[in-house]
Every structure is written in structure tokens, then in C-alpha cells.
Symmetry: D2
Subunit: 465 residues, 4 copies
């Protein structure tokens, strides 16, 4: 419940290169730190002499990997991928990394992002008689690189970048090299770490921390980073595109302990909470965060407002993929198995309930009801981002506009729908100032996409990768 109505980050990627030492376990640990970016499938591919060895499968890392199989992946260079959990499309074939072993070479690729011209590229490839195994746009990138490869490695990568449109953070294994590529707008994150002479590429810096590596810098928009025995080399594709990192990484997707574009995610969220308290103060007794997404903003709100914070909602930490009994009629039980009200704390209190965003509004409606039944006198909902009004075409699994409560309801109507005593969202300006970057993609709030996007409803829009 709680989690299924959040927007979903679609993937995490990780790569590692060592000259002399096995490094596969670092990929495993790195992916663990990125598990929040995807729980549907996981995979690791490493170089074994002249071919690529890959283990991938459906589920969490701990379901795909084990003490028994992890050492089959022993290797000095490798990449990994986690993909997010959706219902329905549980197709093992779409698990990444994608691997191609040739009689004279190999390629492995992991992708976070979304191509908006996937359909026309796919048709072009098929008309040449090429066979694609999956419905994933990431496989298209693999085929394009293969197609252009006769011209040499760098040339094939550059040509591929010129063909594909959309968002992409890529890690690739070819010719004993670890390669990282980030799209021209830098929409999806990708950073570089170093430890003991080893190189790492990661969607987020928190994965560098877990293995003790130091964050060197982000991969630049349009940059191809090539790591091999000669160290790190960079090729920059000419681009006049504007850097537009995704603002939702700061709001919800990235882990609070990550640093993206030099900005601490935790601090950005804390700042959002502070600004929210300034923009929308309320006379109340207790700040209650929605666990776990509302915690950092709650801290900022509490600090700024002086209202104490308390665990009014207790999360059951053993609820993973719980099923709800088919015949269950009590709809609230779906929320209560995940969250319980701490009545002793909320009784007779005026509550400020804080979360990072509202997508459909159904969960928030149940939480407000839960708190009121638990004895709360008032419940004032504060959201540390503006209403989500537009679909994302760049790697976030947004519902269609019709399902986005922010796109068809006024704030006061949402307030009535969720049953809150008051409801405020952080302003777009407040949000941007909290993050503090020069430019940022906030299209889900203002509809200003970094490039022209297909009309809603086109095929491939919501294929996950």
C-alpha cells in the first residue's frame, strides 16, 4: 500500500574495474546500496577471460545471488543492474545486464533511463532483419552499438548516442574496458568513485560509501567515460543541451545519504521541510513523518517551526511483499499491516503529517483516517514538493495524467478528498531553492520537458528498464 502508490525510480546501475583484483563482490555490495532503485530484477555481468559471464533473475539481490553462486562471478571488471518492482510484467527476459557474446568479443550493458524514440529505432533495426529478444529499449542500445561497431569502439558509442533520444545512464563492458555514459541533459544520475586504484561507476554515491570508495565527481552530461588499464579517459559528445538533472531524485528516489551534483540529498530534503514550514505554518502540537519517506523533511519542518516531532505512525519492518487475503473486506487493513498509529502519542493532538509527495492520494486519505481514529484532534498535511501534474518520459513510472490527483483536482479538493484539516504543498520555487542547482528538470510539476516528448499513450512510453 504505502509504497505501491509512490512514484517509482526505474533502475540502478553499478560498474567496477580493477587491474589485478577480483571486484565482483564490490558490485554485489554496491547494488545492495542501490536496491531501493529497483526490486523487480537484479543482475551482475563480469568479464571472464574472453567472454562475459552473467547471472540475473527476478527478485531482490538476495533472491538472485547466494554464497553459492556469487563466486562464479569472480572477475576484475563487471557491471550490475537492479530494476524496479512492478506487478504484472514479471518477465525474466527483461532483466539486465544485457549480454552479447560474439565469436571475437563480447558486450554487456546496463541502463537506467528511458528512450523516447525507441519505437522508431526498433522498427529500423527490424527492417534490417535484426532480431530483438526483449521489449526493452535498453536492448536497442545494445544492437545499435553492435551495428556501428565495425567503425571502432568510440565511434560506435558516439554514433549510438547521436541516434538515441531520452534519458540514459549507461554502464558498459567491452574490450576489457568499463564504460560509463550519461545522456546529454544529465537527467539520470551517474557518478565516479575511486578506491585503492580501482574505479567505480554508480547511480548514487551511497553505493560508493558501502565499499569505502571516494566520490570523485559526476559523469558529465554527454560524456563517455572509458576506464581501462590506462586509467580513466573521457570523450565528450558535442552538445548544446542544458543540464537538467531530475528533481525527483532529491525529493524521493535517491537515498538520503547520497550526494548528487554536489548536493546532499538529506540536506535538500531537510531544507524542503524548513521552507515548507515557512511557506505553510500551522499551529500544532506534533510533527508526524510518514515513514520512511517523510522523515528528513519532517526534521526541517520541526526545526523551523519549533513543533516537536514524534513517531505517531509505526512501521512494521517485516512487511515486504505481503499479500492481502483474497476475501479480506476491511480495506483499511491494507494500510494497518504496514503502519500502526501510536495512539498514546497522537491522542488529542493537533498533528502536522508530512510526506514527500502525493500521487493518487489514496494512501494519504487512509493515513489521515487512521490518525483521526487514533484520537488526533486535527491533521494538517504538508507535502515537501508541489502537486505532480505531468507524466514523466525519462525513467520514472508515473501513472497516466488521469490518475495523478494533482492534475485534475485543486488543492482544496484534494484536502477534502483526503479528509485533512488543511493541506499545503511546497511551491516550485521553494523546491528549486531547496536543491539549489542552477537548472533542474521539474517537468512532472511544470510540464517543461528537456526535449520534445511523444503524445501520451504512445507505445513504449512506460516500458521499464
Amino acid at each position: 500500500m504505502i509504497e505501491t502508490v509512490k512514484l517509482k525510480e526505474e533502475c540502478g546501475v553499478f560498474g567496477a574495474f580493477s587491474l589485478n583484483n577480483p571486484i565482483h563482490h564490490h558490485i554485489y555490495y554496491g547494488l545492495q546500496a542501490l536496491q531501493h532503485r529497483g526490486q523487480e530484477s537484479a543482475g551482475i555481468a563480469v568479464l571472464k577471460g574472453s567472454y562475459v559471464n552473467c547471472i540475473k533473475g527476478m527478485g531482490l539481490l538476495l533472491e538472485v545471488f547466494s554464497k553459492e553462486n556469487i563466486d562464479d562471478l569472480e572477475g576484475n571488471v563487471g557491471i550490475g543492474h537492479v530494476r524496479y518492482s512492478t506487478t504484472g510484467n514479471s518477465d525474466a527476459c527483461n532483466a539486465q545486464p544485457f549480454v552479447a557474446n560474439f565469436s571475437s568479443g563480447y558486450m554487456a550493458l546496463a541502463h537506467n533511463g528511458n528512450l523516447i524514440n525507441a519505437l522508431e529505432l526498433r522498427k529500423e533495426l527490424e527492417e534490417e532483419g535484426r532480431i530483438l529478444q526483449t521489449t526493452s529499449d535498453s536492448e536497442i542500445i545494445l544492437h545499435l552499438i553492435a551495428k556501428y561497431y565495425r567503425n571502432g569502439l568510440v565511434e560506435s558509442l558516439v554514433k549510438t548516442i547521436e541516434k538515441i533520444k531520452g534519458s540514459y545512464a549507461l554502464v558498459i563492458l567491452m574490450e576489457d574496458k568499463l564504460i560509463g555514459i550519461r545522456d546529454k541533459n544529465g537527467i539520470r544520475p551517474l557518478c565516479i568513485g575511486v578506491k585503492d586504484g580501482n574505479y567505480y561507476l554508480s547511480s548514487e554515491s551511497c553505493a560508493l560509501d558501502v565499499i569505502g570508495a571516494e566520490l570523485i565527481r559526476d559523469v558529465e552530461p554527454g560524456e563517455i567515460v572509458i576506464i581501462d588499464k590506462n586509467g580513466l579517459n573521457s570523450v565528450k559528445v558535442d552538445t548544446f543541451e542544458k543540464k537538467m538533472p531530475c528533481v525527483f531524485e532529491y525529493i524521493y528516489f535517491s537515498r538520503p545519504d547520497s550526494v548528487l551534483e554536489g548536493v546532499s540529498v538529506y540536506k535538500a530534503r531537510y531544507e524542503m521541510g524548513k521552507r515548507l514550514a515557512i511557506e505553510s505554518s500551522v499551529d500544532a502540537d506534533l510533527v508526524v513523518p510518514v515513514p520512511d519517506s517523510g522523515v528528513p523533511a519532517s526534521r526541517g519542518y520541526s526545526f523551523q517551526s519549533g513543533i516537536p516531532i514524534g513517531e505517531g505512525l509505526i512501521k512494521n519492518k517485516y512487511i515486504g511483499r505481503t499479500f492481502i487475503c483474497p476475501k479480506q473486506k476491511d480495506r483499511e487493513i491494507g494500510v494497518r499491516v504496514k503502519l500502526n498509529v501510536l495512539k498514546e502519542l497522537v491522542k488529542d493532538k493537533r498533528i502536522v503529517l508530512i510526506d514527500d509527495s502525493i500521487v493518487r492520494g489514496t494512501t494519504m486519505k487512509r493515513l489521515v483516517s487512521l490518525l483521526k481514529k487514533g484520537g488526533a484532534k486535527e491533521v494538517h498535511v504538508r507535502i515537501s514538493s508541489p502537486p505532480v501534474k505531468y507524466s514523466c518520459y525519462f525513467g520514472i513510472d508515473t501513472p497516466t495524467k488521469k490518475e495523478l490527483v494533482g492534475s485534475y483536482m485543486e488543492v482544496k479538493d484534494i484536502r477534502d478528498y483526503i479528509g485533512a484539516d488543511s493541506l499545503s504543498f511546497l511551491s516550485l520555487e521553494g523546491l528549486k531553492e531547496s536543491v539549489g542547482l542552477e537548472s533542474i528538470c521539474a517537468a512532472c510539476f511544470d510540464g517543461k520537458y528537456p526535449m520534445e516528448v511523444p503524445k501520451e499513450g504512445s507505445k513504449y512510453l512506460f516500458e521499464k528498464k
Copy 2:
């Protein structure tokens, strides 16, 4: 890591009775709310006409039960059990409930607690040529009831209670009745809930909340509660024993949203934090809780001391039963895959690090090191309970005394071992006042057991049930 060195609660029990409606899914949801009390095995037994149907197995509830099999358990009366996760003894035979189907009747039983005279009872039963299937002391109770059953239901229960010594919260299914029994000292918790005319028995009240039932009262020490079509009846075994509920339920085991003996667990922990701040104040910049066990006490400490609280340690919520790669040499990685330091927050700060207890000290040592490497100027450790010095014989999985750092080291030596700038424990008086009950079992701190206990090392001491 983090979690494996905590003391372990050994079980949770739940029972449900409805006159006319299927109630098995309430048992399932109730057990989910008790999953923190045991992750090794799970089981549910329900009455099906004239026999008991039982599904049980190793692992979490979501591993044992599924949409497919839960409805095989449809029934109006039933009991459930979760047992805690230990390494090594992963024996499916010891999973509960234990069930016996007779040609003219049945019995099912689930037990939280530990019998201290299990060995002599077992010998007695075996000398009569009875065959016990497991090494569990809970099965002994089943055999005793069967043995005395010729004298009638109530008589057999009373006789059994007179035979067994130790701690026990029992839920039993016999003769269309749901039965609850609590040991004479009331060491392990057991409470009664009601909703829409249905009755529930549960180790903790948080499991009543999840199904929307109201907490009526606790089962009394030495009380037999019998629920059937005539409602709830009570038989009280004569006892001059003192009520001695386990203090560790308040410190760590129970969920913060439970109420035991009329005392809110969250409030007790908050109060421990406040008293800890009074007893052991320190000049510092930031209170950092060890997630998740240190959070409520941190709130009290922060409130009392005026020092702000911050998520200096970020937990990876997807780490469940992670394995550590066999060849991994970096020992700190074991901690870092579970917790990461939020450097932006702790850098150059004087930290008060708060947890509920110290068992072996190894985890705390690594956390202090992590914070210091993350840039913390000082780390002052504050523990919201006294040092654990004595083994528990009543259902808690304590290491032997030799492994309890509190039993062989002075506080200052522990401080040096863990590398903290200062270390203080809450006093026993402070702890008892925080809970506020007239009498309580705090034998793990002061060695004053509610009854004579076997010498350390005896067999059956640490058999789990």
C-alpha cells in the same frame, strides 16, 4: 550484523475465535504484527470440523503462507505462532503450533516462553514409553495435557500448570475452544482483544490494532482463559507468586506501539531516554539514534537535553538476510551494507549515539568507528538500560555470561573497547521508574530470578521455543 547481536525474543503467539465467521486471515495479519518476535518459522492451525488443519514452515510468514494456501486454513477458531531466527538449528520439526489429532479429538498448542524443568519432565514422559518428536519443551506441555486429559479439560490444564516450571504464554485449541494460559509470574506477555463479538489472544496489543480489535485486558498470571460459544470464562490457579513481567519487553522486544500491563512501550522508552539525559548529560551537538532500536529513547534524550536529533546513520531497508561474500576481507563492510553514515550531518559534530542495550559490544564498536571516520569530532554513547550481566532462563536468547560484555568488563573498559569518548548506561532504578510497574523481572541486570534456576550449562537452557 546490527541485528544479530541483539538479544532475541523467542516467540509470538496469537489466537482467534469467532462463532460464525472465518477468522483465519485475522490470525495471519495478527502474526504479521508479531513478526518481530520471531523470523525462523511460522505456523497457523485452525479447526476444521472435527480435526485440526495446520500449515507451518521455516521462514517468514510471507515465505510460509501465500494467496494459494491461506484459504486452505479457512476456519472460525485457530492459533498461530512465530519463532525467532537463529543460525544453525533450522529444523522444520520444531516449528509450531504443535498439533495432535486423536481418533476422538484434537489439540493444537503454541508456546512463548521456556520451561526450566523440561529435562526432568521429558525423562518422566519417556520412562512411561511416550514418544516425543522434537527437542522442544513446548511439546512436553502437549504430552502432559494429553496424559492428564482423561480427567477432563480444565483438570488436565491445571495439572499441567502444576507440573511445569518456567515462563509460558500459551494459546491452545481443544474441544472447539480457544484457550489462553499465562505463567504464574506473568513473565511473558499475553493479552485479550475483542471485535464484533470475536475474541483474540495475542502476545502484544499491536496485533490487535492491525485487525481493528480493542484491547480488553492482559491475561493474569496463573490464569486460564477459556473462550467458546458461551463467551470468555476464566479459571485462576492458586498462586502466591509475585507478578514479574519481563523488563526487556519494554526495552527492546515489544513493538513501540504495544501496550503491556497498561504501560505504553513507546512512552516507557521515551521516558528511559529522558532519565538517561538527566543521569548522564553531555555537552554535544547532535543526538543520533541507532536505527531502529534507539529511536524512541533518542527522542526522550533530545527533548530533555535540548540537543537536536538527526539521522546520522542511514539504514538500508532492503537488507534482510544478506550474505557476506566468503572472501570479503574488509570487516567493516558488514556494518556498512546495513548502515551508512550521513557525513554531511555528522561532520565536525559532537555526537550522542543512543541505543537500547549492549550485548557483546562488537556492533557498537563498529558504529563508533564509522561515525568517527565520517568526521564526527566526539562520540558519546548512551544506553537506555543497564549492562546485561546475567543469562535469561525464561525465553530470551542471551549469550552465555562469558559473551556478555557487561558481565566481565567495567563500564570504562567497555568504553575503551568500543572507542567512545564517553559511555553511560541508564541505572536500574531509572529503568524501573521509566516503566513504572510495581514489580518487574530485571534478572538479566541484577540476577534476581523469579524462581530458582538451573546452573548455567544445563541442557535445554537455550533450546528455543
Copy 3:
């Protein structure tokens, strides 16, 4: 199809004892040779120091055991069991050996046979407050031995034998000893083998061959054989019962390469075929055996009659537990996936179709139809045993009398039902002479049971063990 309408042997047992060497793999190989006696479950129990270690499960040996787990069973003394495959009652709890570990000892038991006073024994045990885990009558034997054990090992075995009525070949592990017991009538087979000073007990001698052991003799009716470091000792229970080995072991159950009571099973079947040719000769072109059950008798029939034999029916050897597609309407396909007619051979021929027995007649009806469609001019069915008319109470899974085509139809009506041009059964005299033993249990043909049996329909009649 073919096989599911055969009568079913219910179990095979095997035991092994070596003074100094691991012998568990011999139990595994021995059970493989007995797999035809049971495919529902398999299990092996061995002595490990002072307790019994047991692995058992549903399915074939190769499903229960693997290279990985077989060595967990390393031991010098042990027993094993295979149970036959039935639909529906796929309950892992009923798998054998049954094991009881006491604080001062252990017992493991495997049983082939059926107790006819199981119900009253069970009631007696339950009234003493004893808890039985399964619905198996074999567990009753375990409890009886435990109950009488205070009087010493031999005494408890003798007392148990005096209590139980029915058929039983037992192998038992107690007090470092391997024990074999056979019922007073010797209904179910059990023999003794020796190799390199090691002792073996087996349902059939073919299991001795596989491990290279020599068949010494059969266990006598009412004999208790005790094998330990002092060698083999024998206790004979006083009995005036007549030796009555089951005739169906010779007709169908036992493997043709076994020797029971000094009689080669293959030779007995060959002889049945010869006598059948004498009793019921027919002018024909080709003898066709129903594979594989009709092969040895076909040889005898062909030899005696001079009619050549040919594989008119070809068996698909990869059909194990094939499922039939739910929507399949063509009922004959069920037979054809298992057997195909070799048209080139049968076309325009007059066929003598030979099988060992007819139970329901449905399979034979389809085979006759198959041959006729394949071009056979005439099909004369010859059965190497009389019509089965009575249920078995001693370990064979016979249908109820209502389903035994031989109990409610005359031979000519059966002939019409199956569509054969002629049909003959071997006479009871011919059968007995073919085997050549002084006395034999042929109650399924003549209703003369070795002891008084319960009325049809009583509970426990058809519980398998």
C-alpha cells in the same frame, strides 16, 4: 493408465549393518532395487553416535536423495523404506522410516504390511494419553515398542508382536542393533544377505544382488532377527500359525530377478505361462506380452505353444508421471502415450495377448481395441492368474470388491466387456503348482484369509504403509 490399474504393493524395506564401515550407500542402492515396491515416498535412517539421523520425503529416491545429502547419512547401521505412489494422500508425514529420539536412546522403524487391528490399538494408546503423529498403523508399532520398552528390548518386541495382528515385515534400529521381524504367517517377504561380514535385510533378494551380497535365507514367520557386534541372533515367537506367503509377489509385485522362499520369481511366472498354454491353448500366429508385466509368462506360453512371440505393443520408456491435458477428450490417448501398436507386426495376425492379472478390466479393454485398430485379426486374452475376487487386508492396495471386475462378472462377460475373441484365466491349481510352495495366501482369489479379517469398509483397511 497401464500401471495405475495394477494392484499395488505397498512398501519395500531394507536394512544394513556393518561393524566398521559406512554402509549408507548400500541402503540407497538396495532401495533403488526395491523402487518398484513404492514410489510415493522414500527415506533412510542411520545411526549417528547416540541418535538416529533420517532423511525422507515424497517422491522417488532420486527426488529425495542427491549427491549433496546422501553423505549426511554416513553411518554403519541403518534402515530404509520406499512407499508406493497413490494419488491424493500425498502426505509427507506418513513417509517412513519413523524415528523417535529419546534422551537416552532412539528407535527407527520401517514397515511393509498392514495391521488389521490398528483401530483398536490406536484407541488403546490414545486413551493412555499418548500422541500419535500420523494416521499410519506403522506408527502404532513404534508406540507399542516404546510402551513395553521398560521390560527390555527383546521382551518389548515379543509383547508388541503378541499385540499386533496382520502382516508385517519390519526393519528396526535400536541399541546399535539392526532388527528384522516377519509376521507369524510370513505374508510379506523379508530375507537376509551377507557380504564381507556385513549383514543386510531386504524385502527382496534382487536388492542383495545389486550390492553384491549373498542371499542367506528368508526370515522365518514369527522370527525376530537381531544383528549386532555379536553377529546374527534369532528369537522365535511361539506360533502355531501356518506359513502363508502372498501369492501376488510371484504373480506381479516382486521383481523377476528375486528369489522368495527359494522360488525364482521369473521361473514361477514362466511356469504360469506354460501351464496357461496347456490349460487354454488357442490357434494363433503371435504371442504379444503386455509390457512389462506380461513378459515372463509370455515366454512360457510361447515355449509351450510354439507360437512365436513379438513386441506387438511398444512402451514409451520415458513416460513416468505424465499428466493428461485437462481438456483432452480422446480417451484412448491415455493408453497410446504409454503403449503403441507395432502395426507391421500385428496386422492380419491372430494374437494371444498375455498379462499377469485383470483388476478393473479398463486397460485390457483399451489394449484389445488398440490391437484391433492396428489390424489384428483376432485377439485372444490369456491371464496368468485367476480372476481377483476379494480385497486384500495384508498390504496390497486392492480396489473394493465392487470395482474388481472378477468379483461381479463371469469370465464370458469380462470377455465381452474387453472385446476379446476369447479370454482365459489360469486356474488356482495351475497357479499354485507354478509356484510350488506347500502353502500360500491366495485369498484375493479364493477368499481364504490366513486370519479373521474386518468387514469391508472399516476404517484403516486401506491406509497405506
Copy 4:
């Protein structure tokens, strides 16, 4: 043992087409009848509206398919494949059918045979930047068809046939059509069946029998058969190649109840036995077939020689994929768990032991030893084919020449090696006359391959498909 040293057929294919009715279960039953041609993997692909649905996996049909998943394959047109069981290369990716779904179409393909120019074709495809997923030469055919598909269906098939060299029986699903193709020499078998207006393609006619379809004819060498709503159409590729069906289908691979090129396999084997008796008569008491491969030839030998036949070797029919205990030292046990000597039959007899072929000779050596230990006075080995001397390049898994006992030993040396009293092989002339076809590929005996073959040791020689 017994079976692992036989030559291995590498695949079986089956296809079905119905205008109006679901036919997937016929594919399932058809493949069951072909299971002897491959036990490593199994798969079925059916047309679902505009795409192909495929289920495939490692293991036997009954392991890959179940009552639960078979109906997911409901469809009117489909193909299926079984692949043979080898150790080591247990790669699920190589399971067939291979499927490609395009945005505007689909293709599914199953292949029995072997391409001898796979390596050069693969290089050619990869140089065009095409990505092959597997190491199978069958996938190459898929890519070639896709590559040429712009020219239309028939043209792409014809062009593909012109490119590929080797043996191939193909069933293909494209454009609502079921397509069958057989190589220019007709090396691997493929036949056509009809029932109720439905069409079937099958490696062997026995699979037509099981579903009750009538064998119409074989697909001709170099013929493309296209079945769609207009019925069956045929395209014949111009070829001056000679028809060269594989002789080993008659010796061992095909089921005895199949008819290939108008010749009954059973009758051919029976004839081989007769001719063997004429060529190599011996004074003996009993003909013993090696089960099951030696049975039909034994019949012919016995008939011709007048020596009676008997089951001197009894096969354990429950031995499937038995493992041998790691510590087992007794090497003969490996044979005895599969075959047992029927001592009562062979004792003091002069035996003629008959099998279809000798590959390495190790198994035959053990069988001779087994019979001698069982009391046989003499053992005369007769083989119903000549010594295998040359590797196969057309779909049979022959060991390298070094391992073929027939390629490096004289007959009398083989006789000494296996310990037989005499040994004779059927002559090549005798073999060819037994089958009776005008021309046949017997290259494994005489080295006369139907086309130029690569030098031994080349890559791809022994890739299985």
C-alpha cells in the same frame, strides 16, 4: 551407465496446424512420443493472435510442462522440440524452439540436425553487427531467415537453404503458417501426418500414432512444406544431391514402432538380427538381449538360429538419472543398479548376448563380466551393426575417433577387451540389405560422408542442437 555410452540422437521436432481447434496438447503428446530423441530440454511455441508464446526449459517434458502451464499454450498452430541430455552443457538458453517477436510479426523455429558451416555463417552475421544469443547453430538459421525476410517468406527460406550446409529437419512458425523443411540429402527424418483435417509434422511416425493421425508421407529432401488455411503447399529447392537418410535411425535412434522412408524400424532391426545369425552363427543355449536396445535384433537372431530367447538381464525401470554415491568404490555397482543378471536363467548356459552397437566397449565389458559371474558358461557377443569408426557431422553425438573402440581396435582385440568368448559384428552389406533402401548414409561405418566435412576438432562440430 548402460545408456550413457550409446550414441545420442540430438533432437526431435514436432509441429501441428489446425484451422479451428486448439492443438497444443497434440504437440505435447507428440513430443512425449519423441522423448527418446532428447531429454535435456523441451519446449513448445504456439501462435497467440499476433505473437508467439513459448514455454521451454531444462529437463524432460514432465519437468517443463504441467497441468498448470500447458493451457497457457492454447493455440491452433504450434511447434515443439526435445533436445538430448548431455552432461555439462546444461544451458537453458540453448533450449528450443527459438522465438523472435517483431513489432510486425514473429518467427519460431525448431531444428534437428547439424550445420557444418555454422562457424563461417556466424562470423558473417556478427560482422554485420547482428547479436546472437546462443552458441547454437540453429539460431543462425533464425537470423538468416530474418535477414532475407524483406524479400518475402518463400524467398527468405530458399535463400537460407542455399546458405546453410549440413543436416536439418526444421519446423517453423511464421505468418500463421506451419512450415517444414528437410535438408537436401534427407539425412534427418521428417514426416507428415493428417487427422480430421489437421496437419502434423514429426521427426518420427510413432508420434503421429499417439495422437491418432495417419502417416501421409515423408518430407522430401530439399522440400519446403507450407501448411496454412489453404492446405499443404510444397516448394522444392533444385538439388542434384542424393537422398542419404541416416542408417543409425534404423539401428538405434528411432523408436521400433516408427516407419521411416516406408521402412518399419522394428522390421529392419529384426532383419538385422536374422542376417547376423546367418553371418555369425554360434552353438549356444540362450539368446539374451541387452535391454532395451538389443530386443528386436534378438528376436530375429533367435528366430533364425532356433536358439530360445530369455531375459537374462533384468532392467530396473525406475532408474532414471540416478547418481552414484561419490565414495562408491565398487565400480560394477554402476551397472548393477541398472541391470541385474537373472541367475536362474543364465547359470551353466552358453549365452548369445545381443546389442545394436558398440561405442566405447566399457559397458559391454561389464555386462559380459556380470553374466559370467552369474554363472554363464560362455558369452558370445553379437552386434547388429558394423564397428563405429568415424565421427558423425550431421547431428549424432559421436565421441571423437580416439574414443571409438571400433576405430583403433581389431575385432579380436575388442573381443579380448570385453572378455567375450566370441564377438561378431553385422557386415555393412548385411546392414544395408536389412534396411533395404537404395542409398543411405553409413558414414560412421565407412567414412563416406554425403558432403565434404570439416577436419575433426573444428569448433561447432559437436555443438548440440
